[in-house]
């Protein structure tokens, strides 16, 4: 009995150690990127010959990088907004009226995720050319929304599945029309889920490269697009600096999401 228990514990430990090792191995490149961003010399090497903040200084002086940064934020916020509205409405509508169209919705929404981004990029470029959106922020926002909407949709499906729909009945019953009942009763229950979905859409947009490469012009190029162009010319630590910022934003977003979803839980624990 005891030896059995011991063995199980040993297997547990071995599993955890193996899992941790795999995780570290996969996350190590991120560490390499961050470390090389503090390089003092003009080329990427690990470990760097010397450490300095010189490339960070360069970044904040480069108008092109700062523009790309702004572009990424504009496209990211636009995508988050569009994908969240579409994803939330789709998932909500399906909960309310799960007809035969509803059954088609899930696979339909998934399609953009299954088409290679290169193909999407080319087709969208031709399409936006036709409708006169070429070179606009809107074209990149729409392309990214195509990708981000399914993710928001699936997040919201799971959020809504945990919602007590009798509350919506109760709201209707007490005289709240469709809009007021959504705002007053559904929204407060799912706002954390919506926030997480929006954050996810933002991050998807921030890191998307292939479609942005096709659709952006020098005026609208996002960070991944500029990074690509720069790398092709010279592999200097500026790329590491930009990557570090992207990693920081993503990690920051995850932290915010965790805090947002657990805030209510936290306040209950404290009271």
């Amino acid at each position: 009995m005891t030896s059995n228990l011991h063995r199980e514990t040993f297997e547990d430990v071995a599993f955890r150690a193996g899992y941790l090792a795999l995780l570290v191995f996969m996350l190590l490149p991120l560490l390499v990127v961050i470390v090389t961003s503090f390089s003092g010399s003009g080329r990427i090497a690990f470990p760097p010959d010397s450490f300095s903040l010189v490339w960070y200084g360069e970044f904040f002086e480069s108008i092109r990088w700062l523009n790309a940064f702004t572009n990424s934020l504009i496209v990211g916020f636009g995508t988050a907004l569009a994908a969240t509205v579409l994803g939330v409405m789709g998932a909500f509508g399906q909960e309310i009226e799960d007809g035969s169209f509803g059954k088609l919705l899930a696979p339909l929404v998934l399609i953009p995720l299954l088409i290679p981004p290169v193909i999407l990029g080319i087709t969208l470029l031709m399409y936006f050319n036709e409708v006169g959106l070429r070179g606009s922020y809107a074209s990149i926002v729409l392309a990214h929304t195509l990708w981000a909407t399914p993710l928001v949709y699936f997040v919201m499906r799971s959020v809504f599945s945990r919602f007590d729909w009798q509350q919506l009945d109760a709201a209707h019953d007490l005289g709240a029309g469709p809009i007021r009942s959504f705002v007053q009763v559904v929204l407060p229950n799912v706002k954390h889920g919506i926030f997480v979905g929006a954050l996810l859409a933002f991050i998807i947009s921030l890191q998307e490269f292939v479609m942005a490469l096709f659709l952006s012009t020098p005026n609208t190029e996002t960070i991944p697009v500029l990074a690509w162009t720069e790398i092709r010319q010279a592999l200097d630590p500026m790329v590491s600096v930009v990557s570090t910022f992207l990693i920081l934003i993503s990690v920051g977003a995850i932290v915010v999401a965790v805090i947002a979803t657990n805030l209510e839980w936290l306040s209950k624990q404290l009271s």
Binding site: D164, Q166, D169, A170, H172, D173, L174, A176, S181
Partner: protein, 377 residues
Amino acid sequence: MSEITLSELEKQYGETTAVEDVSVEINDGELLCLLGPSGSGKSTTLRMIAGLETPTDGEISIGEDDVTDRPAYERNTSTVFQDWALFPHKSVLENVAFGLKMRDVPAEEREERARAMLERVQMGSYDDEDPTNLSGGQKQRVALARSLAVNPDVLLLDEPLSNLDKRLREDMQIELREIHEDLEETFVHVTHDQDEAFTLADRIGIMADGNLVQVGSPNEVYENPKNRFIEGFLGDTNFIDGEVDRVTAETVHVETELGREIVLPTDEEPDIDEGAELTLSLRPEILSIDQPVSAQSDGGQTVLADGSTTNAVIGTVENVLYRGSTVRYSVSSNGTTMFVERTGASTDALTAGDDIRIDWNGADVLAFRADGTRVSL
């Protein structure tokens, strides 16, 4: 005025029929209980009155208005849900004031009215509480206050007491009854608990398989059930199968699985043929038990002077079940098991193995045809 008329109400979900045919007029100020087993369509009927479901056929009118196609938020009905469905992110007071807010009642007035309603259900000191922290009974009171706060024409109750423990449920039944008497509003109460229906209802509507089978006062449906389903559903009874042996002007003689002929007195010539299969219902309260005293009273039947008949069988006690105020004996007679009851106060307690004699008046026995319909005797 808020009488409710349901006519030929039907609700189908795809291939499934939840409600097949419900027609009833509910009087203004009446408390009607819809009673039935789960899946009988009683909750669906209630939700159609509330406007939360749209009937596939039939009409609903409240007062003078046909409300069949009117959504829930345009009807002045109010529902207390089974799980109460309080809004977890709002305080108790905000919950109760919600309906008034949706009716655009000014903030001060709605707070005042909500507080008054919380006082009414003895929850006045809980106004700032988070509803998720309340006990089941407290949630129930808040849900009731929330529904009553909008001053509805009709209050609909969807098994709101079924999640409470027995004691609390009985207290709430009395309280609901009092509230109903105070407000003189129309209440429709759905329940699967017959005791609850008998305690609360002015009239009981019994539902089975999507149909409203019988509507009547509690006394009427219990004493005068329309079919075998209702007899079995309302309280416990012994169903004894038998076959009609012969029919006379005053009596029906039934050969039963008890191995004895049971005689039922009749007022008029009953609509039943010789040889027809019958099920007889012997409720425990019509059965009296005795130790068999002598050989001459070993069962059979005697016609009494007033034309009624007394029947009796001899059996052996198999099981004794103490149920607090009553003792239930399971008795085997000729291979058929029946149960009889006595109040616990009876001194000469019987034990398993005792031979006893069970007597009843044939006039108290109800008879049902093979298709479940009642034979009027």
